[in-house]
């Protein structure tokens, strides 16, 4: 029997993978992908809780759709920034991008 707990465990695992990717990866593109993983983990969580607790109302689903929309827009913007960064500096390695340093 599939319970809410199962979904939450998958969601948590997915989120942790994403978090690890954000912290450990050096490539800006991979970090972006990791952020997408974290967003999807959140979506999974939302939909699961919505279906298990109150399936009559679509609150959770609607928020998930919002997250997907905003995530798409954000990725579009972030990829554009990464592209410019590559054009200007010839790299997307965030170790080398430290202009905000003291």
């Amino acid at each position: 029997m599939l319970t809410l707990m199962h979904f939450q465990i998958v969601s948590a695992a997915l989120f942790s993978v994403g978090l690890y990717g954000v912290l450990a990866r050096r490539s800006a593109v991979l970090i972006l992908m990791s952020i997408e993983l974290m967003l999807n983990a959140v979506n999974l969580n939302l939909i699961a809780i919505a279906s298990f607790t109150d399936p009559e109302r679509f609150t959770g689903f609607i928020i998930a759709i919002f997250v997907i929309t905003v995530g798409a827009a954000e990725v579009g913007l972030a990829l554009a920034i990464v592209l410019r960064m590559f054009r200007n500096r010839g790299t997307v390695n965030i170790d080398e991008i430290e202009l905000m340093k003291w």
């Binding site: 978090l19 954000v22 912290l23 450990a24 970090i31 965030i94 170790d95 991008i97 430290e98 202009l99 905000m100 340093k101 003291w102």
Partner: protein, 628 residues
Amino acid sequence: MIGMEYAWLIPVLSFVAFPLILLLGKFFPGKGSSISIGAMGAGFILFLFVMADLLSNGEDFFSYKWFDVGGVELTWGFIIDPLSVSILGLVTFVALMVQIYSVSYMKDDPRFNWYFGIQAFFAGSMLTLVLADNFLLLYIAWELVGLCSYLLIGFWYERKPAVEAAKKAFITTRLADVALLVGILLLFKQVGSFSMSETFEQAELLMAGANSALSSGTTLIAALLIFVGAMGKSAQVPFHVWLPDAMEGPTPVSALIHAATMVAAGIYLVARTFVIFEAAPDSLLIVAIVGLLTTLMAASMALVMTDLKQILAYSTISHLGLMMLSLGSFGYTAAIFHLMTHGFSKALLFLAAGSVMHGIGRTDIRQMGGLIKVMPLTALAFGIGAVSLGGIPIFAGFWSKDEILLSVLDHRHPIFMILVLVAVFLSALYMARAFFVAFMGELSDENREGHEAPALMAIPMILLSILAVTFGLLALEWTDSFHGIGSFIFVHEGHGFEFNLILGLGSAILAASAFIIAWLIYVKGSVPISPFKRTFAPIISMAERKYYLDSMYQGFIDRVVLVFSALVAKFDRVFVNDVAVNGVAESVKRSAFTLRHHVTGLMYNYAFVMVVGAIALAAAWWAVAVKG
């Protein structure tokens, strides 16, 4: 009919002239001088109307509300009484003469309109001071007068001595002004109002022994403090040091300062607040002593100076001392009368001295001599001024000086009388010396090219000469309604003309003999001067060194004031600046330099901190909301 309710216009006209000259002066004829002279001339005409009104309707005062603060109502207001109107006439007339004279005297000066602007402002301030009906307004005008004299003395500020003299004048008078302010506040504290009439009412109650808001101790202290203020402005010993130095200003300015504005303010103040002095009679004795000391010291210094303007400056101090002595001897009328006769004569003398400088470009009387041949009109004007101040009968100074002698004789110890007669003799002697050395005798070759004063300078001298000759006759009884000056200007009750024949004759003989002695010494040369010089050598050498007062003050400033200031400056630099201000800034800077290393610029560092923060927040929430 224009009456006394328009008197406030007199100073206001001059105040309005000041910005007008500075901003729009160049569009007017005479580069702005016409505005100032126009304002002053209108002021003089208004004075005539006010005087006519005063004579027919008696004295009055006007007061308008300014603002309320803490339950005290402050007012603008003016007094129209014989005292204020007399000084009004003196100031407007002398200022008008000086300004007309200045048009010619200052015509090549690059700051011509600034000069006339300040002249107008100066006259306006002095007129406000004279008309003010409350101590607050009087004090404001008092400070403005000090400021304007500072600006005019330092008018040629490219020259170092002028700057020094201006500073000296301002600081010296300012020191005395502090006493005046404290005195005014003391009176205010007990009376509860700045109004003069209310204060005088209380003082009169005190004098009558009735229940008064003023206590006799406070009245004495306040009177003395007011007198210290007057000593500063009227150059009484030991505050007199600024006046001789003030000669660095343009000569017409000296004429104005010495005759009508500035130094007259101190005498006017004591006369105005005379009731307060009377309520504390001990203060009048001090006034008399200071006046006597001043007149003697200044007269002896005037006798040994060789600069024409310096002689006149010390002569002014000496006569101011005489006026103070007169006030201190209950000679209220005599003091004000002498203020006016001296004002006309001294303005005349200064304008003549200015004409000499204009004509030959020298101020040392030893380089002059025989100037009567190249500038007869100037010589005549100077001569009239000299005999008037010297106290030769018929001329103005004689009458007022005689009134002073009379009040000293009536109210003070005989020793005062003897000393004041010495001062009278000396004052005739130094005037005679200045006149004979500068204008008589041999004309030297380099002075042969000197020229007479141009018309604009001559006319004021002529008009002032007429007054210096005739003004004293006001002392006499002329008609049934006019019983001499004493029936017009008085403090409690008027009195007709009083003349002590022996005293008048004595002082006239004294003055005449001084002139004759000076003539024998300096013109005829029949009396050698060296025995005198040997006999009085210590006094002469002290007088030549200005009784060491200037050096004492300089020494005090060098050894005490400057040392203390250096200490304060050190404290400011080390403690306030280095520790308190820079120290705080430095510590903030240091910690910032240390702490900035946390800004790595690396994205994953920031992300990691965010994660740690989120976990910490979650843990806290869990600990508080779920477990607790």
